[in-house]
Amino acid sequence: MLKYIKQLTSLVAVIAVLFAFTTESMAAKKSKTLKNTIKKGFVRCGVSQGLPGFSNADASGNWTGVDVDVCRAVAAAVLGDASKVKFTPLSAKERFTALIAGEIDILSRNTTWTLSRDADIGLTFVGVNFYDGQGFMVRKSSGITSTSDFKSGLSACVNIGTTTELNMRDFFTANGITYEPVVFEKADEVVAAYDSGRCDTYTTDKSGLAAQRTKLSNPDDHIVLPETISKEPLGPVVRQGDAVWEDIVRWSLNIMIEAEEYGINSSNADAMKTSENPQIKRLVGAEGELGAALGLDNDWSLRIIKQVGNYGESYKRNISDTGILPDRGPNELWTKGGILYVPPAR
C-alpha cells in the first residue's frame, strides 16, 4: 500500500512539475525580456533627449510623442496599462550600447534602419513607425532656396554617429562640394551651433528639422530646403536573440497601423467587438487566439487601441496638431496614397 502511495505521489509530483513548466512556457515561452518586464512591472524604453513630436518631456516630466506611443502600446499589451513605462533619455552615442547592455528593452528613438545596424551590432529592427528622409535647414536671409545653391566652403552642423553624418558626405561628394563638418554629441549643441552662426546649414531627418526648429531663437527665420537626400526609415529597435519580445514589439506597432486601416480608434474599439467584419473582431480580440501566440492574453490588441489609439490618432496628437508637420506625407495608409502597409494580424 505504501509503495503505491509513494508511486502515486511521485506521479502527481511529475505531472505538477510538467504542468508548471508548460504554464510557464505558455506565459513567457523563452523570453527573458518578457519575464523581466512582467517582474519589474514596467517597460524600459529608451528615447531621445527631447525631440518635440517624437519623444519630449514637459515641465512635469510627462513624455509624449509617436516614439513614446510605441512603448506605451507595448506596455498596454504586456502589462495592461499604457502608463507603466520608464523613459530613459539617451544621446546618439549611447543609444545602441544602452540597448545592448540591457539598460533598456526597447529603443524608440527615431533610429534609422540600416543594414550595418541590423546585422553588425547585435540588434534587430522591428518595424518602421515613421518614413522620413534627410534634409537641410538654412536661414531665409541667406537666399538659398535649394541644395543646388550650395557652394564649396560651406560648414554643416550634424549629430555625431548618425546616418546623417555619412549621408551628408555622400551628398556633398557626389555634387563636388567641399564642406566643413562640425559634429557634436548632443542634438541641442548642434542646434545652438547652427543658431549662433558657427555653421551655415543644419542637417538631419526632415522631421527632426521641423521639430528642432521650435528650439531656435527665431524659428521663422529659417526654412527647410525642399530636397530629400536619403531614405530614413525610423523605427523601434530591440536586442537580437529574444524572438518573442521582437514579435511583441513588432506586432504592437502593426496593430496600431492596421487598426487605422479598418477604422478602429480608441473611442469605438469596444463597440467594434460586435462588428460584422471578422478581421475587425480579430483585431479587438473578440475572435481568434492571436494573443496566445505571443504569450499574451487575448485583450492585448484591444488595450493598445483603447489606451494609446491607432496610428492616425497618435500622429495627429503629436505631430499634426502641434504644427510640426501638418500633413502626413508618406506616413499615410497605403489605401490612402501613403506607404504604410503592414502584414495582416491573423
Binding site: 530613459t88 533619455p89 549611447e94 545592448i100 540591457g102 539598460e103 541641442d188 542646434v191 545652438a192 528650439k215
Partner: protein
Amino acid sequence: MIKIINLLGTPSREKFSLFVPIGIFLFSLGLIDVTLNSLFDVNITSFFPRGLNYFTPLIFGFLGLYYLRIEFSGNKMLDKLNININSNWFNSILTLLIIFVLIQNIPPLLNWLIIDANFVGTTKKDCSDSGACWIFIKIWFPRLMYGLYPNAELWRINTSFIMLITLVVALFYIPIKLKKYLIIFLIFVFPFIMFNLIHGGNFGLVWVETTAWGGLSLTFIISVFALILCFPIGMFLALGRRSSAPVTRYASIGFIEFWRGVPLITVLFMASVMFPMFLPDGVYMDKLFRVIIAITLFEAAYMAEVIRGGLQALPRGQYDAAKSLGMGYWRLHLLVILPQALKLVIPGIANTFLALVKDTPLILVVGLLELVGMIDMAKTNPDWLGFATEGYVFAGILFWIICFNMSRYSQRLEEKYKTDR
C-alpha cells in the same frame, strides 16, 4: 631725455616737499586720464597729437613715480610703496600698466555682474540685455542643485548631507577614545545609510531612479562615495607595490600605472559602454554605479601613489623596531606604519580629493547630469536660450568657492602637520 626730467634735480630726501607733491600730482593725472577715458569717454588730453594721446597717462604716471622714487625718504608709507612697486623704472612701468588695465576692465565687469544685472523677475522678458540675467539662475536653482530629483523628496538629500557634515565636524571635537568608533561608523555604516536615503526603495521611501539624480548634489554624492571607497583600495595597492612578493608587486604596479596612464574620459567610456559586455547576460548594473566604480578605481591609483610617498618617508627603524617586537605583517602595518604614514600624507589625500571634485564634471559626457550638465540642459531650454555666459560664470564661481576653500584647508593642514614632525 634724462636731462629734461632732471631739470628739477634728482629726487632726493632733501627736496622732499618739492618732489612729492609734484609726483603725486602727475601720478594722479595719469590715473584720472585713464579713468575718464574708459568710464566716461572723456578725453582731457585731446589737444595733444593723435599718437601721443594713448601714451599721455603712461608718461604722466611714469614721471610722477619717478619723482616719488626717493630712497630712504623717512616717510614710512612712501618707503614701503617705493620698495614694493617703484624700485626701478621697469617695475614702475609694469605697475602703471597693471593699474591701467584694472581700471579699464574692472568697472565694466562689475557693471555686468552686479550693477546692471537683473535679480528680480520670473521670465526671460524680465532680463535686460546689458547686465547678467541672474533670474535664469534663480529659477533653475533647485534643478541645478538637485538635478531631476522629485521636489517632494528633496528632504532626503538634504538630510543625508547634513548628517555627513555633522559627523565630519564631530570628528574634530570628540575625545580620542570615541574617534575610532566614529571613523569606523563613517566609513562602513554611513555609506549604506546615505545610499538608502537617496536611492529609496526600502524602508517605505519612494524609489528614485539614478538617472534622476543630478546637479551639485550628484557631484558631492560621487565625490563622497569615491573617496570613501578609493581609500582602502589605495592603501592595499600601496602596500602591494612595496611588498617583496613579485606577483603582488607587479600586479600592483601594473594596476596603478594603467589607471594613471589613461585619461578619465576613456575610463568613463569604458564604464558606460564596454563594461556591460563583461557582465553576464541579463545582469544589469546601473550606469551611476558603474561610473562610481570606475572613478573609484581611477582615484585609487593616484591615492596609492600618495600613500606610497608616505610609506617611503618613514625611517626604516620603525619597521625594524616593530619586527623586533614580534609583530606580523598586518599588525606591523596597521598599528605602527600606517598611522604614521597617513598622517604624513594628509595634505596629499586632501589634494587627491580636490582633484576628484574637479574631475566630476566629466561625467556629463556619459549622460549623467551633474552641475555643468544641468547648466547645459538649462541653457538649451527653448524658454531660456542665450544665457550660456551666466550659467558658466555661476558654476565657475560655485566651484571656485568650494575648491579654493578646500585647497586653503589642505594648506593649513600641511602647515599643522609639518611642525608636528
